[in-house]
Symmetry: C2
C-alpha cells in the first residue's frame, strides 16, 4: 500500500558538539519519507521555495517518493536553525522562518487515494487537521507532533488525536501533553484521548508502545557516537508507518517489527549530520542492524 506523507521540507542549519551544517536538507516530511521509502512507495505533500536545490527532488524521485504533491512556490524554503549542547537531548531553536509554509494549504494531488495510509508528520496540527479532512483517509492514519504544538495548539492537537490510529511523541512531550510524570500514566492518558495506538519515544532508551495498555517495549539501536539528533523522531515515524504500509495485515508481531524498524532507521539518522546517514544506508545495512537488535532483545 502507498503511504502519503504530509509535513515540512526544510533547509536546516544545525550545530552540535560534533560539527555544524548550514542549509542542509531537513524537515519532518523529508526524514519520514526517506525512512518510509525503505519499505513502501511514498506520496510526498509539502511545499518548497524556488531556492530549493533540484538535486533533492531528484533524490526523492529516485527513492520512489512521488513529488507530484511537492508544491513549488515563489519565495524561500522553510528554514530552521538550532543548536544542541551537552548530551544533545534537547534542541535549542535559534530561528524559524516559515517562508513558503506561511498559510500553506496544499492541493491533494490526484494520485493520492483515500485508501492509502497517511502519515501526518510533525507540523502545525491545524494543517494536519485540514489535510485529514481533505484526504478522507480510510487507511491507517498516523500523527507525529512536537512540544511547540503542545504549547501553542493544544486544542487542535487534542481534536486531531480523536481521529488518528497511531500517535507518536517523545517522553518529554508525553509528559507535557498529559501532565503525568510517569510514562505509563502518560501513555494511558493519551490513549484515553482517542488515539488507538500511542508510541512514546525515549531516544537512546528506546520506545514504549501502547495499544489497549502497554503493548511493547522496544530498545534503541545503540551507537558509539551520535552526531546530530535532528530528525530521529520523524525517521522513527516514517520507518514504522512505511513498514506497516508494506503489510497485508497488521498483527501484534508486525506492530513489534514496525517499532524495531523505526528504531533502526532512526539510528542511521542520528549517526551523521542532517539526512546523510539515512541516505547512505542500504536495505542490507538496515536488515543487518535489525537482526542485531533482534538478537539483543530475544529471550
Amino acid at each position: 500500500m502507498r503511504l502519503t506523507i504530509i509535513g515540512s521540507v526544510a533547509l536546516d542549519s544545525v550545530e552540535t558538539p560534533f560539527g555544524k551544517k548550514d542549509d542542509a536538507l531537513g524537515g519532518s516530511a523529508t526524514y519520514s519519507a526517506i525512512s518510509a521509502s525503505f519499505f513502501s512507495p511514498v506520496n510526498l505533500i509539502s511545499v518548497v521555495g524556488n531556492d530549493f536545490p533540484k538535486r533533492y527532488v531528484t533524490m526523492y524521485e529516485k527513492r520512489n517518493i512521488d513529488t507530484t504533491g511537492l508544491e513549488k512556490k515563489d519565495g524561500k524554503t522553510f528554514r530552521w536553525k538550532a543548536r544542541y549542547e551537552g548530551d544533545m537531548s534537547h534542541a535549542e531553536t535559534l530561528s524559524t522562518h516559515l517562508n513558503v509554509f506561511d498559510g500553506f494549504r496544499p492541493v491533494i494531488p490526484p494520485n493520492v487515494k483515500s485508501t492509502d495510509n497517511l502519515l501526518l508528520a510533525n507540523i502545525d496540527p491545524e494543517l494536519q487537521g485540514w489535510i485529514f479532512r481533505k484526504a478522507k483517509p480510510q487507511g491507517l492514519v498516523a500523527c507525529d507532533t512536537m512540544n511547540l504544538w503542545i504549547t501553542h495548539k493544544r486544542k487542535e492537537l487534542l481534536k486531531l488525536l480523536k481521529q488518528v490510529d497511531l500517535f507518536l511523541l517523545n517522553d518529554a512531550e508525553a509528559r507535557q501533553l498529559s501532565g503525568e510524570e510517569n510514562l505509563l500514566e502518560a501513555g494511558k492518558w493519551i490513549s484515553g484521548k482517542g488515539a488507538k495506538m500511542v508510541v512514546i519515544k525515549k531516544g537512546e532508551h528506546g520506545a514504549l508502545f501502547f495499544k489497549d495498555g502497554l503493548h511493547s517495549v522496544v530498545p534503541a539501536y545503540l551507537l558509539r557516537k551520535i552526531s546530530d539528533p535532528t530528525g530521529a523522531g520523524d525517521t522513527f515515524a516514517g520507518g514504522m508507518t512505511g513498514y506497516l504500509s508494506q503489510q497485508r495485515k497488521i498483527t501484534n508481531s508486525i506492530l513489534k517489527k514496525s517499532l524495531m524498524y523505526g528504531s533502526i532507521l532512526a539510528s542511521f539518522t542520528v549517526e551523521k549530520f542532517s539526512a546523510e546517514g539515512l541516505l547512505k544506508a542500504t536495505k542490507a545495512d538496515v536488515n543487518r542492524r535489525y537482526k542485531k537488535l533482534e538478537r539483543l532483545v530475544k529471550v
Copy 2:
C-alpha cells in the same frame, strides 16, 4: 547450586517523596539474599549488632537463607540514613554508621563450599577481595559496587574486577569508573578490565549486558508508582545470580532470562518501602510479571 552472598545487613532510615521509614531492614546482602532465595538456597555472610531484631533472622531462615555466617557482635548494627528527592534517581546519604562493620573480617562458615557460586554484594572492595581470597571460589563469582567505592577504593575495585565473572553497576557508576559518557564505550572499557560479563543497570530504562561486546538489552518492568528505590540494584544482582545458580548450564538464553528475573525482582523492591514489596511477593507474582515482560519484549 547454593549461592554464597557476602554484603551488608543494615537498618535503614529512608525518606522519599512518598514517605519515611526509620530503622527498616536493609543492606546489600539483605536485598540480594531475599531476591536470590526465590531461585536458590543462600548462605548469608554478614554481621549484625545485638540490637538486630530476631524476627529478621527468623525470616531469613524461613526463606532458605542460611544464617550460619551471619555473625552477631556486641555493638550496634550498621545504619544508613538517606533521602531521595524529585525523580528519586539519586540517594542523598545523610549519615553512615558502620558500627559492627568497622574492621569486620568474617569467618567463612564450614557449610560454604568453594564450589558454590559467590555474590560479592555491594560493600567495601577490600572486604570483597578478602572474602574472595578466603573462599577460593570455583563457581560463578559476581560482584556489585557503588559510587562511594569507585571514588575511594578505585584501585582495590579494579584489582577485584580481574577476578570476577560478572560485574554489576549502574549507568552513573559505569560512566564514573570508565570515564566514558557513552555506555557502549563504558561497557567495553569495563569488560577490558577483566570482568567476563558486565551488567550496566539503567533504572527504569532497563539494563545493558556485555559479554564479548553488547549481548543483551533488557527493559525494566515499569510501574505506575515507585515508593523507594533503595535496594533495587542489590535485588537485581541477587535475582540474576540466584537464577543462574539454579541452572545446570549457563547458555545465552539462560543469561537473558537471568537478566529479566533481575529486572522483575527489582520491580517488587522499588514498589514499596524497604524490603516490604520483595518480602510480600510470591513466586507466582514473580512469574506473572516475568510472563508479562516477556510478552512486552518478544518480537
